[in-house]
Symmetry: C2
Subunit: 415 residues, 2 copies
């Protein structure tokens, strides 16, 4: 509830590494200026990161009239991180170095009906094995695996409590994965994964309060408030997709009517298209990705039905995003995930106009709306970042007398 | 954007005084246990509060086997705080001692058409003069005056940017007030005032994330996240009243359609009643307070129209509050302000049932919904708390070499 001095120390450690990754090589003096921390605090945190081999000393620069300053840079090969994006229609796994470059990727499609937990675990285990083999990294260098799974998750117990699109209830996903994967495992959902990716590497880095709007099969909002992720008291904040936009409107799988998701999630966009032109060739029944791709091509070709379908969707989105602007008064709203990536600039343009029609003047004036600029899968990147944060969080324990191992590491990593 | 060490020191100072006010007398050891701060930090902060005469030493208690422990208590007569609640239909001013007991109160009615800024300033100045005279406190002991004004406010410049119910735009309210009032002035809006009152003295004290739902002429949500008030990047967060509940629904004075406020603000409740029974004797056209009071009496007398009108209102409220539960995942939602106070338990019961129909299971299970238990006007109390926070914020400056005066104190207080 309240931030302890250890929380603050961990947050500062994140902040310093984030800055080093963004601007390597850099000096302790530059880091102090960029983070607002004292030089002494920065020096201590840099020392910890050097001990962990996450960063290295890379030489000196002259300072005007003073002693040469030591420079540090991220030690890209000091470890590997794995991010797992379990989505409704696919599993994607990426392996990153410590500069968060993608070294290997594996994709597995999931057809409708393949969503049993054991099947999903099989896909994930195969893909994780594949990326480690592709990259040729030693197992001991994998610092952790972050797993993103849709819906409501209990990150402490590793249980997927409710994944509405699969009707999963209380699936002990990390326990199941731990039978196949020996690295430390961390779990959260795609809202929070893509938000953390924007905080570390994207449009929210170094900015004030930000909201990351995830537009995929499901939709939601990652909340970056006061420099960190707002999780709520039971890690389920951000369920914007299940806020009411149209009282008594379309039935949602959550049981409520008129949820935002039923109008702007990929299946909702298909309904928008069907209501506009039931016989449209753009519509690929039972195939969300094909329909969204067809819409994107249609917009590029100035197809009037595609343009109208995107405008109708943007009208719903604009009202829903204006709610976020009015409630959170953020500095930036980032549109992320595969639907936002596919519909891109044309969607962004329509959304900006629609938000301006619905939001209050004062918070609207303070808010910028942008597309995610993260070039790779932001959910994989964010999931890998959870593993990075996990590794940084254990620094205190590691340097203390008693070494603790992460709760989910059932066996020692192969070496 | 990021919390500096000075912000953290100020927040800790609030936390310690809050705890002393809640549980006087108390020891430094108890304060350390209750706040999670180190004993050394508590001792420093207690020393500052003693220097300010906000608290006093009041004796010793035995500790099992150890030295007697010094006890401190709030110094109720160490200063006075004034809270001003400028509402759409009245101005209320209360004067508090440092234990936040009400020592004097002045109310001024505002009839429709009396809402010109100069008229409002006249009412406030008269009422402030009245409470100081009633309480017989010396001007020098008034630490500050907190002013709550509806709508969007710039608390740094003291400008009421937009008060929708009066059509105020960019009114320099604190400059106007400073011509009549010589004490340090602080300004914010009723959402944030009642939220801060709950944080210091009400249902949110010592709890995790909380949302304070204000139900009056206008409606909004005060957001208590991570132990403090979430303001957003331009102090306009919490505008829940202007989030869309019914796309293309009732026209709102903000220009949007279907805002929450148009269904659950006092004028919206009058529309609900009129839609149900246009000729109802409960309806007092052009008189919100009389209508809400009649509804409350009707519910107590089991009048079917009154019961149905409250149920209809609770249905809208339940969907809107479920949005807050799904987005913020709070530990507690507090219903505050005069409409909530008037409709009380019957409204609370209906709202709880309606929220349960709309919210997701996991955040719903973590959330308690309660009525504000603050016995006096929570907006006056919260406004006075802004003045208290202002006085505590200047501690650093006061003990430093250069004494700074609050920006809005134009002349020295009379002595
Ligand atoms: Zn829903
Ligand atoms: Zn409105």
């Amino acid at each position: 509830m309240k931030r302890t001095s250890r929380d603050i120390r961990t947050a500062n450690r994140y902040e310093v590494l984030r800055q080093i990754i963004a601007a390597s090589p850099t000096s302790r003096q530059e880091l102090a200026a960029a983070t607002g921390l004292s030089l002494a605090t920065v020096a201590t945190l840099v020392g910890e990161l050097l001990d962990l081999r996450m960063i290295t000393e890379v030489g000196f620069e002259d300072s005007a009239g003073g002693r040469p300053r030591g420079l540090v840079a991220v030690n890209a090969s000091g470890g590997a991180l794995i991010g797992v994006d379990i989505a409704e229609t696919y599993v994607r796994v990426e392996l990153f170095d410590l500069a968060l470059n993608v070294l290997a990727r594996a994709d597995e499609d999931m057809r409708p009906g393949e969503s049993h937990p054991e099947q999903v675990v099989g896909h994930v285990a195969a893909a994780v094995g594949s990326v480690v083999a592709q990259a040729g990294v030693e197992g001991a260098r994998v610092l952790g695996v972050g797993v993103s799974v849709p819906g409501q998750v209990d990150r402490d117990t590793g249980v997927a409590e409710y994944a509405p699109n699969w009707d999963w209830h209380d699936v002990p996903l990390l326990d199941l994965l731990a039978e196949h994967i020996a690295y430390p495992l961390y779990m959260d959902n795609p809202l929070r994964a893509s938000a953390v990716a924007e905080l570390w590497f994207g449009a929210a880095r170094g900015r004030g309060d930000a909201v990351v709007v995830n537009l995929g099969t499901g939709v939601g909002a990652g909340l970056l408030l006061g420099g960190g992720l707002h999780r709520g008291v039971s890690n389920s904040a951000g369920e914007w997709g299940h806020t009411t936009l149209v009282l008594d409107g379309r039935l949602c799988h959550c049981g409520n009517h008129g949820c935002v998701e039923t109008y702007v999630g990929a299946p909702g966009i298909m309904v928008n298209l069907r209501e506009l032109a039931a016989e449209s060739a753009l519509l690929h029944p039972d195939d969300q990705t094909a329909t969204i791709d067809a819409l994107a091509r249609g917009v590029a070709a100035h197809d009037p039905v595609a343009l109208k379908a995107v405008r109708d969707t943007a009208r719903y989105l604009g009202a829903g995003i204006a709610d976020l602007v009015n409630l959170f008064n953020p500095e930036v709203v980032v549109l992320s995930s595969w639907v936002a990536a596919a519909l891109g600039e044309s969607l962004l343009h329509e959304v900006r106009e629609a938000v301006a029609r619905h939001a209050l003047r004062r918070p609207l004036a303070a808010t910028e709306i942008v597309l995610s600029a993260i070039p790779t899968d932001p959910v994989c990147l964010g999931a890998a970042t959870f593993a990075l944060e996990g590794a940084l969080q254990t620094v205190g324990q590691r340097t203390a007398a008693k070494r603790t191992t992460p709760a989910r590491s059932r066996t020692a990593p192969p070496s």
